[in-house]
C-alpha cells in the first residue's frame, strides 16, 4: 500500500518540469450596475430564472405577514416554521444541539443570508446562520432574509470575501433543489427544499 510519502514522491518525480506561474485573475465586474438598486434588479432576474422567488414587503407589512403572503399556497395553521432570525418568530426554534433527524418535520426554515451574488442569484450561509446545517435541506421550503446592501456583483467578488474563510461549512444556495434526471423534465424539490423565497430586509 502506497501512503502519503510514496504518493508525494511519485508526484515529485513525475510532474511536468517547467515553471507555470499562477495567473492574475481580473474581477470582471466593470459592466455591473454600480448602484444597489441595479444590482438588486440583476439579482432578482437570475434568482427567478433559477426557480427562486423574490417577495418584496408591502408598506406597513410585518415580515411575518410578507412570508405568509408569499407562501400562502404552502402553509396552513399546522405548518411547522423553524426560524433562525429575530424578525420572524415562527413556532419552532432551532438549537445547536438539535439532532439533524429531529428536524425532519420542519415545513419552513427561515434563515438570514450572509450575502448575495447578483451574477447567479445566489445567497450564502455558513453554520453561523444555519445553527444546524441540515435544516436548510430537510425543511420543505426555505425563506431567506437578505440585506440588499450585501449583494456582491459576481462570484470573483464573493470568493474574495474573508468573512467566511474560517467557517466550517459555507454553502451557496441558488433557487431550490432541482433535478431534470428523468427525461430532461425540470422538477423542483428533488431531495432538498421545494421552494426558496428571498425577502429583502436590511440588517438592523
Amino acid at each position: 500500500m502506497r501512503g502519503r510519502n510514496d504518493i508525494l514522491a511519485d508526484i515529485r518525480a513525475n510532474k511536468p518540469k517547467f515553471t507555470a506561474p499562477a495567473p492574475a485573475v481580473p474581477n470582471y465586474d466593470d459592466h455591473y450596475p454600480s448602484d444597489a438598486a441595479g444590482l438588486q434588479a440583476r439579482f432578482i432576474e437570475v434568482l427567478e430564472k433559477m426557480g427562486g422567488a423574490w417577495a418584496e414587503p408591502e408598506a406597513n407589512e410585518s415580515l411575518e405577514a410578507t412570508m405568509r403572503r408569499a407562501l400562502a399556497d404552502k402553509l396552513d395553521a399546522n405548518s411547522l416554521i423553524a426560524s433562525n432570525v429575530r424578525e420572524i418568530k415562527g413556532n419552532r426554534r432551532v438549537h445547536a444541539d438539535d439532532t439533524p433527524a429531529s428536524l425532519h418535520d420542519v415545513d419552513v426554515a427561515v434563515l438570514r443570508a450572509r450575502f448575495g451574488v447578483a451574477e447567479t442569484g445566489t445567497v450564502c450561509f455558513t453554520e453561523a446562520e444555519l445553527t444546524v446545517n441540515a435544516v436548510a435541506y430537510l425543511a420543505q421550503h426555505l425563506v431567506v432574509l437578505l440585506d440588499p446592501a450585501t449583494i456582491e456583483t459576481n462570484l470573483h467578488r464573493a470568493y474574495q470575501r474573508d468573512d467566511y474563510k474560517n467557517a466550517r461549512y459555507t454553502v451557496f444556495h441558488t433557487g431550490p433543489s432541482a433535478t431534470a434526471d428523468i427525461e430532461g423534465v425540470l422538477v423542483r424539490g428533488a431531495q432538498g427544499v421545494r421552494s426558496l423565497t428571498v425577502i429583502p430586509t436590511p440588517t438592523v
Binding site: I7, P26, A96, P100, T120, R168, T170, S177, I182
Partner: protein, 496 residues
C-alpha cells in the same frame, strides 16, 4: 452534479414504450467493443433520438450561457493556466491541503489505488459500526468500484442523486458524468421504480417519479450511519473542498449523519479560494448552461460533535502526470461538455463505452486505466475537435485521442482489421501522389462497385452509414488545379 433542464418543464405528450437498449457488457479481461455496442443502441430508434436531442440541448444551452459572458474565452484560459500551475506544483499544494485539513480537525488518508481507497473507507466504517450509508454522486467512487466492494462486505450504500439512484436500482452503470440516466426514457424509469420502489407502473410522469424517489429516500437519509461525498475542487489554502449539486443531496449526505467521508482525486487541487471564482463560473455553464449549480457547498471542518474524513486517491494519476502527451487530461473538471457535443457519443449512448468515463473524456482517461480493455475507445471519435473547442479547461482532447491511437498501435493493442486498414491508409496518406491516385480510384469505385463490396465487414464506417456520394467536381485537388493553380508553375500543386 445533476440536472435542471430549463427548456422542458412539461412531459412530452406521447408515452414511449420502446424497451431500453441494454448493450452487452464486456467480461473482465475482454476488450470493450464500442462499435457493436453502439449498433445495439441504435436498434432502439426512439431512445437513440431522444438521447441525441437531450445531450445536444445541453450543448446548445452551454453555448447560450457562454455567450452571455464577454470574458468567457479568457476564463477558459485562466482555468487552464491555474490547473497547469496547480499540477506542476501538485506535491506542494497537496501537502498544504492535507496539513490544513488536518489542522481543521479532519482525518486525512492517502490511497494509492482503488483497492486502498475501498479498504480505507471500509476500515473507517468498521471502526464506527457503520452499516447504512448515504452518498452523493462521485465518479471517483465509480472508478474504484466502491459500491460493488461495499456490497461484498455487507454495507448498504444508497445513492441520493436521482439519476445515480435510478442507475443503482437498475443495476446499471452511469452513462454520463453529469446526467447518469440520460439514456433512459421516463417509461424506463417508471418500470425500474415500479419494480424497486413499488410505484405505479402505468404512471411515467417525471414529477410523480421524482416525488416517489424523494419519499422513498428521505427515511434512508434520516436513518443513515454515515454520509459520503466526492469533491469537485479541493482548496490548498483552506484545506476545504467543494461539492456542486443541483438536488442538495450532497448537503444531506454530509450534514445529516455525524460521520462524513469524502473521496477526493489528487488532481482536484486548486491553490486558492479565489480560484474558485473562475471554476464555479465555468462548471455549470459548461455542463448544463445554468450560471451555477443550485448548491455549491464548501466543507472545511466537521460540524460540532461530528467527524470528517478525507481520502486522497491517486489510482494512476501520479503516473499519468509523467506523460507529456497526456498529463493535461488531469485538468478535467468533469463537466461533460465534450460528451454533449460529440457526434459519436450523441449517437451511441454512454453505456456503449463500457467504462466509468464515457464520451471524449473517456477516450483519453479509460485507456490509462486499462489499455487492453479500452483499446477500441480512442477510435470512437471523428476527431472533429468539437470536444476541444468546448472544454472549459482547454484540454486538447481530440489531439490526445489521436495520440492514444498511436500509443495503442505501438503497444500492439489494436485489432488486426483496423491495423491493416490503417497501415495501408498510412502509406497512402504519407504520399500526395499515392493519395491522389487512391482518391481517383476510390471515386471511381464508389460509382461502380456493388454495395456488397462497399458495405462489408472490413468497412466499419459503411455498416451503419451510407457512404457519401462522389462529388460531381471530382476531388478538391482537381478543382484546385482547374480554378486556382498558378498557370505559370503547373507543378506547384505537387509540392509537399
Amino acid at each position: 452534479m445533476s440536472t435542471p433542464d430549463p427548456s422542458q418543464t412539461q412531459n412530452s405528450a406521447e408515452a414511449v414504450r420502446e424497451a431500453q437498449p441494454k448493450p452487452a457488457k464486456a467480461r473482465p479481461g475482454q476488450r470493450v467493443n464500442h462499435a457493436s455496442a453502439a449498433r445495439e443502441f441504435l436498434q432502439s430508434p426512439i431512445h437513440a433520438q431522444s438521447h441525441d436531442e437531450r445531450v445536444w440541448a445541453m450543448r446548445q444551452r452551454r453555448d447560450a450561457a457562454a455567450e452571455t459572458i464577454p470574458e468567457w474565452e479568457e476564463l477558459r484560459d485562466l482555468a487552464s493556466q491555474i490547473k497547469t500551475h496547480a499540477l506542476t506544483h501538485l506535491d506542494e499544494y497537496l501537502e498544504q491541503f492535507a496539513d490544513n485539513a488536518a489542522a481543521n480537525g479532519v482525518h486525512v488518508h492517502w490511497a494509492g489505488d482503488a483497492a486502498d481507497h475501498n479498504r480505507i473507507v471500509h476500515e473507517i466504517f468498521a471502526d464506527h459500526g457503520v452499516k447504512k450509508v448515504i452518498k452523493s454522486k462521485s465518479m471517483l467512487m465509480e472508478e474504484c468500484g466502491f459500491r460493488h466492494y461495499m456490497e461484498g462486505v455487507g454495507i448498504d450504500i444508497v445513492e441520493t442523486d436521482l439519476g445515480e439512484r435510478i442507475q443503482q436500482l437498475d443495476a446499471e452503470d452511469p452513462s454520463h458524468v453529469v446526467v447518469p440516466a440520460v439514456h433512459k426514457m421516463r417509461s424506463d424509469v417508471s418500470q425500474v421504480f415500479a419494480k424497486t420502489l413499488g410505484s405505479d407502473p402505468d404512471n411515467d410522469d417525471a414529477h410523480y417519479l421524482t416525488e416517489q424517489q424523494r419519499q422513498a429516500t428521505r427515511p434512508l437519509i434520516l436513518d443513515a450511519d454515515a454520509g459520503m461525498t466526492g469533491a469537485n475542487f479541493a482548496v490548498a489554502e483552506t484545506g476545504g473542498f467543494v461539492v456542486c449539486t443541483n438536488e442538495g443531496n450532497a448537503d444531506l449526505s454530509a450534514n445529516v449523519p455525524n460521520l462524513h467521508v469524502a473521496s477526493i482525486g489528487i488532481e482536484k487541487i486548486v491553490p486558492k479560494l479565489s480560484d474558485l471564482g473562475v471554476f464555479i463560473r465555468l462548471l455549470s455553464r459548461s455542463a448544463l448552461g445554468s450560471p451555477i449549480t443550485q448548491y455549491t457547498s464548501h466543507f472545511r471542518a466537521p460540524k460540532p460533535g461530528g467527524e470528517m474524513h478525507i481520502v486522497l486517491v491517486d489510482n494512476g494519476r501520479s503516473k499519468r502526470l509523467a506523460d507529456e502527451r497526456f498529463w493535461s487530461s488531469l485538468k478535467c473538471i468533469r463537466c461533460g461538455a465534450c460528451m454533449n457535443t460529440c457526434p459519436v457519443f450523441r449517437r451511441s449512448g454512454g453505456l456503449s463505452y463500457g467504462a466509468t468515463y464515457t464520451g471524449p473524456l473517456g477516450l483519453i482517461l479509460d485507456p490509462s486505466i486499462d489499455a487492453y480493455r479500452y483499446s477500441n475507445l480512442p477510435f470512437a471519435s471523428t476527431l472533429n475537435g468539437s470536444c476541444t473547442n468546448v472544454c472549459p479547461v482547454k484540454i486538447n482532447i481530440h489531439e490526445q485521442i489521436f495520440e492514444w491511437r498511436q500509443v495503442l498501435a505501438e503497444d500492439d493493442m489494436i485489432p488486426w482489421t483496423k491495423k491493416s486498414t490503417l497501415a495501408a491508409a498510412g502509406r497512402t496518406l504519407a504520399s500526395p501522389r499515392a493519395y491522389r491516385a487512391a482518391i481517383k480510384s476510390a471515386h471511381s469505385a464508389l460509382k461502380h462497385l456493388p454495395d456488397w463490396a462497399l458495405y462489408n465487414k472490413l468497412n466499419a464506417w459503411g455498416q451503419v452509414r451510407d457512404l457519401p456520394d462522389v462529388p460531381a467536381e471530382g476531388s478538391f485537388h482537381d478543382w484546385y488545379r482547374q480554378h486556382r493553380l498558378n498557370k505559370e508553375d503547373p507543378t506547384a500543386g505537387d509540392r509537399e
